[in-house]
């Protein structure tokens, strides 16, 4: 049974056997990096601070702006997988695929890096490379593409479990991408 997913102006219809998340991390607030440095003692902090449970800036400093991140996969997405899925890719089998859509802020729109228009949905197996990965894992191949759609800047990052299954996985990814819509913010 297929499922639909939507949030923050992004929607998708997932093929059978796929699951996904559209998430937005917490925006850091409170003490700035400079403020924290200003009041820091000259020496070290405590071991409790090393654990970092409630230290200032523990999840980033004010000014940092999280944007929506989409993870779509034909396997169970683990928690704590990281925005580009490093916590998921090492669990992938040869028959698995992971799609990541990572959004940038409005200041990125119009930059040369995002000159390409539109979310790709006609990927071919030869587009994927063993070195096009955040972290190289033997057998896996990846594809990354920066683009703008609906006045929003993104990068698409796709990881396939193996080149052997690339034709099938690419077709499956294309179906998923073709069913993904991005609306103006």
């Amino acid at each position: 049974m297929s499922a639909s997913l939507s949030g923050w102006g992004i929607s998708t219809q997932l093929p059978d056997g796929w699951e996904g998340r559209i998430s937005l991390r917490v925006t850091p607030t409170g003490t700035t990096h400079d403020e924290a440095a200003a009041v820091a003692p000259s020496g070290r902090r405590t071991l409790r601070a090393l654990a970092g449970s409630s230290a200032p800036g523990a999840v980033g400093w004010p000014g940092e702006i999280p944007n929506p991140v989409v993870h779509l996969a034909n396997f169970a997405l683990p928690p704590g997988r990281g925005d580009f899925g490093s916590g998921a890719t090492d669990r992938m089998t040869e028959a698995n695929a992971l799609i990541v859509l990572f959004e940038y802020g409005p200041e990125s729109v119009g930059q040369p890096l995002f000159a390409s228009q539109g979310l790709p949905h006609t990927l071919r197996p030869h587009h994927f490379r063993a070195n096009a990965l955040q972290r190289q894992i033997p057998g896996q191949v990846g594809f990354q593409h920066f683009f703008t759609e609906a006045g929003r800047a993104f990068t698409l990052f796709v990881v396939l479990g193996s080149t052997h299954h690339a034709p099938t996985l690419t077709a499956s990814c294309n179906r998923t991408l073709a069913n993904t819509r991005i609306s103006p913010r």
Binding site: R25, P28, H33, D34, E35, A36, A37, A38, A40, S42, G43, R44, R45, T46, L47, A49, L50, A51, G52, S53, S54, A55, P56, G57, A58, V59, G60, W61, G63, E64, I65, P66, N67, G80, G82, D83, F84, S86, F102, Y104, G105, E107, S108, P112, L113, F114, A115, R129, N131, A132, L133, Q134, R135, Q136, P138, G142, Q144, F146, T155, F157
Partner: protein, 584 residues
């Protein structure tokens, strides 16, 4: 590695500082690792490694049998693990090596390396055509990949669309958008990399000064090697450390560095004891992309390509900041803030003008042709004095002007820059300046022909001043008639009133020392003086039966004088002293 240790961690002779729990653990374990007969350097090196281990896996390291080196590089440190190497491992400094650029970043939350705050990883991707080739690092335990992963986080240098693989990773506790201003604040997180480290990186929660030093590249970075370890002061507040090419100061405003020619300049000014005070932001790049600058409590130092390294401080700096710094009409400083020739004020020169300041007048910019005109008239020690406004735009939006203590300078492209000062300025100001009938000045104020007074010419008239008469404007047809009559050197002399409206609400007149000039819409301007003028006024002036004059007072036969009016004449016979009114 030793150089990266915060200097404060060195045991002071005779008076060891009170150590935190992690410090005591680190020291104890280092003792065990190295034995008690190690050299001091050996001790410090081992302490640093243990510190890294403690930051990477604090509980495991303390409780499980393992060497510090086994864990100092964290998880995934083998080439086959597929991660990218740290820059300091291959570059000797925690910064992007040549042929690469900051291309994107992510963070790991709650990192022990950053005292519980987020730790940032900044990818250095190969520049297109730079020639980097993929290989495994084979030195130290950080044996991760060099220039292999064709992947980009994408928040930095988005103007660069062509890129190669990740050469290596810089790691900082400073947010990337502060580390490199091309980086955006779009957040990315990957806590899987939280334990990744290298022997060349600082370990367990360094002091803020040591942390910033490491973020800036450590000994191989812009600051260079340590030459004086971290210590209190100078002065009564904060801490600081000195390096070969700069310094880092920690104050209530944060932790900030100064380096390079800016540091040399700052040293020459006696650093924190100077008029600049403490640094309050790290050296940054100005909007031109080439000029470096540092901000201090009370000013800035700019290292310019054209004019060298220059400082601006105090109220002048505040004004310049308010105007937009180098993006303003003033541009970059081209000289240090200096004392004005009269010893009362200060000024700074910029590419496009100057800012002058006194306690009485405040800081104000003077630019372009107005500045040239003002300086030609003596500048602050001339008759105009110091500026009391910045450069402003007149009501018509066409020109520019500055007001000074004793006058003004107006500029318009088609008229040039001209000053007006003293009583004449007061009068022009009173009647509405460029909005008045006079409009813009078209020349500088100058002495009258008779050497007694002064005058200024404007587009719509003149203002004449003499000690006996004060300043008064003369305009249009009345001024033309006065000119025909010889102006101030003629029998009419200086104006004693400005241009006034006659009782019918339509005509205009000026009184002069020797008579008056009356102008009416249907008749034009004519002068009346002496008994004829007095008689005409006595019978009602323009409201009388004769109306407006249509001639000047002219001599006629018999030594008499006569003026013609719309409906008659007035004739004066000096022999009888009588003025005869004849109506037609």
């Amino acid at each position: 590695m030793t150089d990266l240790l915060p200097p404060s961690s060195e045991p002071a002779a005779g008076a060891p500082a009170k150590a935190s729990f992690p410090e005591r653990v680190v020291s104890r374990v280092a003792d065990v690792l190295g034995g008690r007969r190690d050299s001091r350097r050996g001790f410090l090196t081992k302490t640093a490694v243990v510190g890294s281990a403690l930051a990477v896996q604090p509980w495991d390291f303390i409780t499980k049998p393992a060497s510090a080196y086994d864990v100092v590089c964290g998880e995934g440190n083998a080439c086959a693990d597929g991660w990218s190497v740290f820059c300091c491992t291959i570059n000797g400094t925690n910064s992007c090596p040549p042929g690469s650029f900051t291309a994107g970043w992510w963070k790991a939350d709650a990192s022990g390396f950053c005292c519980g705050a987020a730790r940032y990883y900044i990818d250095c991707n190969a520049a297109c055509g730079s020639g980097w080739t993929c290989h495994c690092n084979d030195k130290t335990c950080d044996q991760r990949l060099v220039a292999c992963n064709q992947f980009r986080y994408g928040q930095c240098h988005q103007e660069i669309a062509c890129y190669g693989p990740v050469v290596c990773r810089v790691v900082t506790c400073t947010p990337p958008w502060q580390y490199d201003h091309t980086c955006t604040t779009a957040s990315a997180t990957d806590n899987r990399t939280a334990s990744h480290s290298a022997p060349c990186l600082p370990g367990n929660c360094p002091s803020p000064i040591a942390q910033l030093y490491a973020d800036l590249g450590g000994p191989g970075g812009a600051l260079g090697p340590i030459v004086q370890t971290e210590r209190p002061g100078p002065g009564s507040s904060g801490r600081y450390a000195l390096y070969a090419r700069g310094a880092i100061y920690q104050t209530g405003a944060g932790v900030h560095e100064v380096h390079g020619s800016i540091w040399t300049k700052y040293q020459g000014m006696n650093t924190v004891h100077s008029s600049l005070g403490f640094p309050k932001r790290n050296t940054g790049t100005a909007s031109d992309g080439a000029t470096r600058f540092s901000d201090f409590d009370h000013g800035s130092i700019y290292a310019t390509k054209v004019a060298g390294t220059r400082e601006v401080h105090g109220a002048i700096a505040d004004r310049w900041y308010f105007m937009g710094r180098e993006r303003s009409i003033l541009g970059l400083p081209v000289a240090d803030t200096a004392t004005a020739p009269d010893g009362k004020g200060r000024y700074s020169k910029f590419e496009g003008g100057s800012i002058y300041y006194t306690a009485a007048t405040g800081p104000h910019e003077v630019c372009g042709a107005i500045r040239t005109e003002w300086l030609a008239k003596g500048g602050p020690t001339g008759f105009l004095g110091y500026p009391i406004t910045g450069q402003r735009t007149p009501s018509d939006g066409k020109g520019r002007y500055n007001d000074f203590q004793h006058g003004t300078v107006y500029w318009r492209r088609d008229l040039g820059a001209h000053e007006v000062h003293g009583p004449i300025f007061s009068r022009w100001d009173f009647i509405g300046r460029e909005r008045s009938i006079l409009g813009y000045p078209i020349e500088d104020q100058r002495p009258s022909t008779d050497g007694v007074g002064t005058f200024s010419n404007f587009r719509g008239g003149s203002i004449y001043w003499s000690p006996a008469t004060g300043p008064h404007e003369v305009c249009g047809s009345i001024r033309d008639k006065w000119t025909v009559k010889g102006r101030e050197t003629g029998f009419l002399g200086y104006p004693t009133t400005g241009q006034r409206t006659l009782s019918d609400g339509a005509g205009r007149f000026n009184d002069f020392q020797g008579g008056s000039i009356y102008w009416g819409p249907p008749t034009g301007a004519f002068e009346l003086h002496g008994p004829i003028r007095s008689k005409w006024l006595a019978i009602g002036g323009v409201a009388s039966s004769v109306g407006y004059p249509i001639s000047d007072v002219v001599p006629i036969s018999g030594g008499r004088e006569q003026a013609s009016f719309q409906s008659g004449t007035l004739t004066y016979d000096p022999g009888t002293g009588v003025v005869t009114v004849t109506t037609t």
